[in-house]
Amino acid sequence: METDALPTLFAITEDELDLNALLEAITLPTTGAAAIFTGMVRGYTESGQAHQTLYLEYEAYRPMAEAKMKQVAEEIRARWPSIQGIAIVQRIGRLYPRTPTVLIACTAAHRNTGVFDAARYGIDRLKEIVPIWKKEVGPDGEEWVEGEYFPRPGE
């Protein structure tokens, strides 16, 4: 299987995430396993200072976000050569509690060659380097959520 035949899918979208379709798009005839991560909007956060969220507003620097998603996919392939398909999708706009907002999925022939680690790495990297922001709107006002990661040269 040549690398350029391996499906890599990344998107910034305002549409609902369709896990069935995304998984199908990265499943090859040689695929036997997939690990998928999704992040959802929490309506209630119980850790730290408990608070309620009415909705989140997501914003992206779209062309750069797509380029950085591609970079995350390339980093995954460099670390886990067994990975076959990769899907990275971020939904933007106004998103309400219980809604999936982000998805990272990795497929491979077998489950023990890195699919879980690859998906986990993917979501961690997405959070660090892909230019997407969210504003949290709660009953008492709104607040932009800022990350803490400062990319290094080359990232």
Partner: protein, 90 residues
């Protein structure tokens, strides 16, 4: 004096009343650091943001010493927060 445009996102955009882009005059050979200083002077509402802002040149992260190339796509924004987790407290 070159005239550059800088895309802004998230908090920066909101502090500017929703503007998606700012314009600024810079001397030739200016660096990212120069750009930040000039923005802090020209747009005082963004002065505080300049302390922790990320800067990109042609969709790649850039650093204080980097000289701004002519005609590059410049952008500034806070550290990213995608993914619907790691919520800061209001």
């Amino acid at each position: 004096m070159p005239h550059v445009k800088v895309l802004v996102f998230a908090t920066l955009r909101e502090r500017l009343g929703g503007a998606r882009e700012i314009e600024i005059e810079l001397p030739p050979g200016a660096t990212v650091r120069d750009l930040k200083e000039r923005i802090a002077q020209t747009y005082p509402v963004l002065a505080e943001n300049m302390k922790s802002v990320l800067t990109t040149i042609n969709r790649e992260y850039a650093f204080d010493e980097t000289v701004l190339p002519d005609g590059a796509e410049l952008a500034m924004f806070p550290p990213v927060s995608g993914g619907a987790f790691h919520l800061q407290q209001p």
